[in-house]
């Protein structure tokens, strides 16, 4: 497969996943805004949300104060914000258009239709659009695209590059969401275990559609350790770091089999997975959750870099 085609498919996967995460972030922010304000050194939730995906400086420059309405605009509709739902969906669709012939009709239809609908939203009056409608629409559209890919695409190298993209982006996004909650969102350590802490954890779980799954898996009080275990180490929860890295590994291994040889990407991915398999949640807290997440995100970005330098540059070594 042409390296550039693989690159477009890889990024198609990443942008779809990223659009979904931005919608999830919006949902977290929207819900958190409904929680009682306890005041006093309280940091603005929305600001934290923007910090988590690195777009706070851009936002401040363009809109000033983080007012919810502006944030919704910025994170959902703003074409200039590269992580807005619109920008991600447009980029996904552009990547898809270029490699249109590598996609099945249902996949193209799903992507193209989502983009057309999104354009219709942009033309509608904002007061007619509820935030929850927008975020739910995004998750539904992304699920449809993903489902079409799963149901109709040939299991060839192109499929596995998309899969690798999904896995890497998802791992990054879960790590960010968790980091927002733990490091940024909570005003200071004294709140750990408080009512506010609890309700924010619940919101985080909800935003990952994991609220009930968590309830079935763990009993007793909601604690940071349980949540970290669930979102980082649980192999069954599809958005956990371990499950995401495992997905990326699976697709990279399929590439190895298809091509008859491995590259540096496989060994990099396997090292990441091995560490997650062997880790205990206590190890993570010993290192510091925030420090662990930062290190993980760097490793994960490193994996993307290696894939870029090998397969996507035509040097599979």
């Amino acid at each position: 497969m042409l390296s550039r085609t693989a690159s477009h498919l890889f990024w198609l996967g990443r942008y779809i996943e990223r659009a979904e995460t931005t919608a999830r972030l919006l949902e977290v922010g929207g819900r958190n805004a409904l929680l009682p304000d306890i005041g006093g050194g309280y940091r603005n939730d929305w600001e934290a949300i923007l910090q988590s995906n690195g777009s706070l400086p851009d936002f401040k420059e363009k809109y000033g104060d983080p007012v919810q309405r502006n944030i919704e605009t910025f994170l959902f509709f703003d074409a200039e914000n590269p992580s807005s739902v619109f920008a991600c969906m447009a980029a996904a669709r552009e990547n898809a258009r270029v490699v249109r012939t590598a996609l099945t009709s249902p996949v193209w239809d799903a992507i193209n239709t989502a983009f057309q609908e999104l354009n219709q939203f942009r033309r509608m009056e904002r007061s007619k659009l509820a935030l929850s409608d927008l975020t739910e629409w995004t998750m539904r559209s992304c699920a449809l695209i993903r489902g079409s890919i799963d149901a109709t695409q040939m299991r060839n190298d192109g499929f596995h590059f998309m899969g690798t993209g999904f896995g890497i982006e998802r791992a990054d996004n879960t790590a960010r969401l968790l980091d927002v909650k733990y490091y940024v969102l909570l005003p200071n350590v004294s709140y750990v275990g408080s009512g506010l802490d609890q309700s924010q954890w619940v919101t985080l779980l909800r935003s990952m559609s994991a609220h009930r799954a968590f309830g079935w898996t763990y009993t007793g009080e909601l604690t940071a350790a349980k949540i970290a275990d669930f979102l980082i180490l649980n192999p069954q929860f599809p958005r956990s770091l371990r499950a995401s890295v495992q997905d990326a590994n699976y697709h990279l291994d399929c590439l190895t089999r298809g091509y008859g040889r491995a590259t540096r990407a496989q060994s990099h991915a396997r090292t990441m997975l091995a560490e997650l398999v062997e880790s205990q949640v206590s190890d993570i807290f010993d290192e510091g959750l925030h420090e662990f997440l930062l290190r993980f995100m760097a490793q994960n970005a490193g994996l993307a870099g290696v894939i870029q330098d090998t397969y996507l540059q035509g040097n599979p070594e």
Partner: protein, 474 residues
């Protein structure tokens, strides 16, 4: 239906008689209720949009993914009509290639005084980089698009030749697909020669001109300027139909004696490049140094026999509007045959006598820029107002060599769906001739139709549409 325009050949009717080839279409459209027609028309549009066949014109603004209007009423050729056209097209494609092989080598036609030297050597499309080199099988232009118009029962004229990278063939193929899908009955009632072999023939043609150094199955690719090009859809459509990679310049690189494609399995050698990129952008080390679309060193590999480029850089010197006048001469000179298809009489404004005639008859003539395309920079005298005519008069006086003029041709009409039913609209035809080991032609082409009443401009950028083109099997 509204009456035929007097003075124009009506392809469906002769007086009150419907020609035999169109009889089943006459029954078909007259028995079609209005609401069904509207329904089918929007169905066709949806199909086009679904497959993503759209057309973008630089600088026009508006919807970058707008559709070229598709008219459902087919245009029909009988088998004898097509046989003559086919012979004429093959003859012309052969002569154009012979001309290119000659002017890039010994220039016999110039030495024989059959064409003025300056029209060739001072032509911007004449590439110094193609001189002193024989491309595989001596073929320079592998896909020749020949624009034809009909003015009478047996009267066809060639409007222009396209030797570089003629576009539009995807419409020929899609128009047929959509008609077959929407009106299968028509294809049962009429024996219509298929066109869907085009992609296979194109691939065969391209593979047949692989360089000698190629071992085994030739690796063919299509080189596109990228997704922002107006014909990008066609590039990806053809690549998909042929089962070849669609590459951009950045996907290829030169190493040693060959051109390689960057793939996820590592570098893969490329043997034949069907480029949909202008000469100037092919290789920044040979042509425009600022081109980011091409492949540095590609011309060196081409010249040293490591890859073939279709069409050959410099093929455009054969389809230049000033050289066009001499195509009948080429046919006589190289093939020793009489031209089967006629040229439109052309006045060269570069010649003082011609120029004088043109300036005196502007309101009767069609004036074109020598290097223009797409219907831009064109004056249709009988349809133009005074000020437009004066504007062209000035332009011609300032730079006569840049203009040619032709009589206003009475383009034939074909029934076309309009608000009130059907009405005659002017049409032209572009068949696509493939030149490789052999010369191949699928029975059909792209019919373009001027949708505006009375208009003679069929270009899609100027409000033209397209039709399915039938050749009836014997």
């Amino acid at each position: 239906m509204t009456n035929a325009e007097p003075g124009f050949f009506d392809e469906m009717r002769s007086g009150s008689q419907v020609r035999e080839a169109y009889q089943s279409l006459e029954r078909w459209h007259s028995s079609m209720p209005d609401d069904l027609r509207t329904l089918k028309q929007s169905e066709a549009e949806n199909l086009f949009r679904r497959v993503g066949i759209t057309f973008a014109v630089y600088g026009e603004g508006g919807d970058p993914e707008r559709l070229i209007p598709f008219d459902m009423f087919p245009r029909v050729f009988t088998s004898p009509e097509w046989r003559k056209l086919e012979r004429g097209i093959r003859q012309r494609a052969a002569a154009l290639n012979a001309f290119l092989a000659d002017v890039y080598d010994r220039g016999e036609i110039i030495k024989a005084g059959r064409i003025p030297e300056h029209l060739v050597t001072r032509n911007d499309a004449f590439e110094k980089a193609a001189i002193g080199f024989r491309p595989p099988r001596g073929v320079y232009s592998h896909i020749v698009g020949i624009d034809l118009v009909r003015t009478g029962r047996d009267q066809f004229y060639v409007l222009e030749d396209n030797c570089r990278t003629p576009s539009g063939v995807s419409y020929m193929l899609q128009n047929r697909e959509i008609m077959m899908r929407m009106f299968p009955q028509l294809f049962l009632e009429n024996r219509i020669a298929p066109v869907d072999g085009y992609a296979r023939l194109l691939k065969k043609t391209l593979a047949s001109v692989a360089p000698d150094k190629c071992e085994g199955e030739p690796k063919v690719v299509i080189l596109t300027p990228g997704q922002f090009n107006s014909a990008y859809y066609e590039h990806s459509f053809l690549a998909d139909l042929m089962g070849v990679e669609l590459v951009e310049g950045q996907d290829l690189f030169v190493e040693g004696d060959f051109v390689w494609m960057k793939t996820t399995k590592g570098p893969q050698k490329v043997d034949v490049i069907y480029r949909r990129l202008d000469d100037a952008f092919i290789d920044p080390l040979c042509f425009r140094p600022d081109s980011m679309l091409g492949v540095p060193g590609l011309m060196s590999v081409y010249r040293s026999g490591g890859v073939n480029i279709c069409s050959c850089p410099g093929a455009g010197v054969a389809d230049d509007k000033a050289v066009y006048t001499f195509v009948p001469e080429m046919i006589r000179f190289y093939l020793g045959e009489a031209p089967i298809l006629e040229n439109v009489p052309t006045w060269q404004c570069a010649k003082p006598d011609d120029c004088k005639y043109v300036l005196e008859h502007l309101s009767e003539l069609v004036v074109k820029e020598v290097h223009g395309s797409g219907g831009y920079g064109m004056l249709v005298g009988p349809k133009a107002d005074k000020s437009t005519i004066e504007l062209f008069r000035q332009k011609i006086v300032e730079d006569p060599a840049n203009y040619i003029a032709q009589p206003t041709l009475a383009l034939s009409t074909c029934p076309t769906f309009v608000e009130e039913g059907i009405a005659p609209r002017h049409v032209d035809l572009r068949p696509y001739c493939l030149v490789g080991e052999s010369i191949e032609l699928v029975p059909g082409g792209l019919t373009r139709v001027a949708l505006k009443e009375g208009s003679l401009v069929v270009n899609s950028s100027q409000g033209g549409g397209v039709k399915d083109t039938w050749v009836l099997a014997e």
